[in-house]
Symmetry: C2
Subunit: 175 residues, 2 copies
């Protein structure tokens, strides 16, 4: 039964129609507290090969992991505010203390390729909602436990949280 | 003077800061009636190599040209409604009568690579606002005068409307 529902979510009729209502797309926290993630247009779900778009909402105090990836990533902040932490010097052995940037409704920023970063909803009164655009999906993410963890020790998380069940479903289809 | 303002618009301090206020980014119709275009994150303006994001507003009755491109393109409709015209059969000599799809606030769709398409604000009461994501910028667009124009006669528009002045500015920089 779990397998059937996974497969349905990964290639639902909703997911396959050309014009999709975003509010009817699958939404989940994928095991991360305070997160709501929707794959608006994705590699596994919709057959995208070069770009992928997510709609994410972070409850106050919630955040992404500290992480890096070699794809391009653009954020468009739709609602709320928060903080981007960015460690730009990838020449050291570990990220080190990150720079802090305020992010706010109707702002945009992109993450330089391979820079270690983290997005936090540091506004305790409001959700932070962002559209996230990445290139070359599906995303391959290296996760750090803290800012002093060596780059070489960062752990590859692939498939990423929301890609897990779809990758499993597509592998089952192949059996 | 024109050259200076072009160059400024293409690499303004605003354009180069990491977190940018979208409402302070350059906005223009680039000679197309009823259009407001903002390059949120772009190849020429912000050094993106794999993805580009635009914020576009179409006044009632305004529309894109009939066109095709070999990059991926994703639309997220933020406000208003309209119609997507899409000619999916690229095997004929010309696009032919397109299929019509209603698009609406909080909907999303992507254009299959090389399919001929056009987006119209067919709602006479409201602006249509969309976020547009393309892969492999800068975009190379083939424009059709009508749906019965042969694919082979479609005219390459490169650089595209909003890329023109920045491409010129970057060429002047090289002199
Ligand atoms: Zn990231
Ligand atoms: Zn297009």
């Amino acid at each position: 039964l779990a397998a059937i529902s996974d497969a349905c979510r990964c290639s639902s009729a909703q997911g396959l129609s050309l014009v999709r209502n975003i509010s009817e797309l699958p939404q989940d926290n994928y095991g991360r507290g305070g997160l709501s993630h929707i794959t608006v247009a994705g590699s596994f779900m919709h057959g995208m090969k070069e770009v992928e778009v997510w709609l994410q909402t972070f409850a106050p105090g919630s955040h992404t992991p500290i992480h890096r990836h070699s794809c391009e990533e653009i954020f468009v902040v739709l609602k709320g505010s928060g903080t981007l932490y960015l460690a730009s010097d990838s020449h050291g052995k570990y990220p080190g203390t990150p720079q802090e940037f305020s992010i706010f409704s109707n702002s945009t920023f992109h993450i330089p390729v391979n820079d270690v970063h983290q997005v936090w909803n540091t506004n305790e009164h409001e959700d932070l909602q962002v559209l996230v655009i990445i290139s070359r999906p599906p995303v391959k993410v290296f996760i750090y436990e803290d800012w002093s963890m060596p780059h070489a020790a960062a752990k590859l998380k692939y498939p990423y949280y929301w890609d897990e069940e779809c990758l499993q479903a597509s592998r089952k289809d192949e059996l």
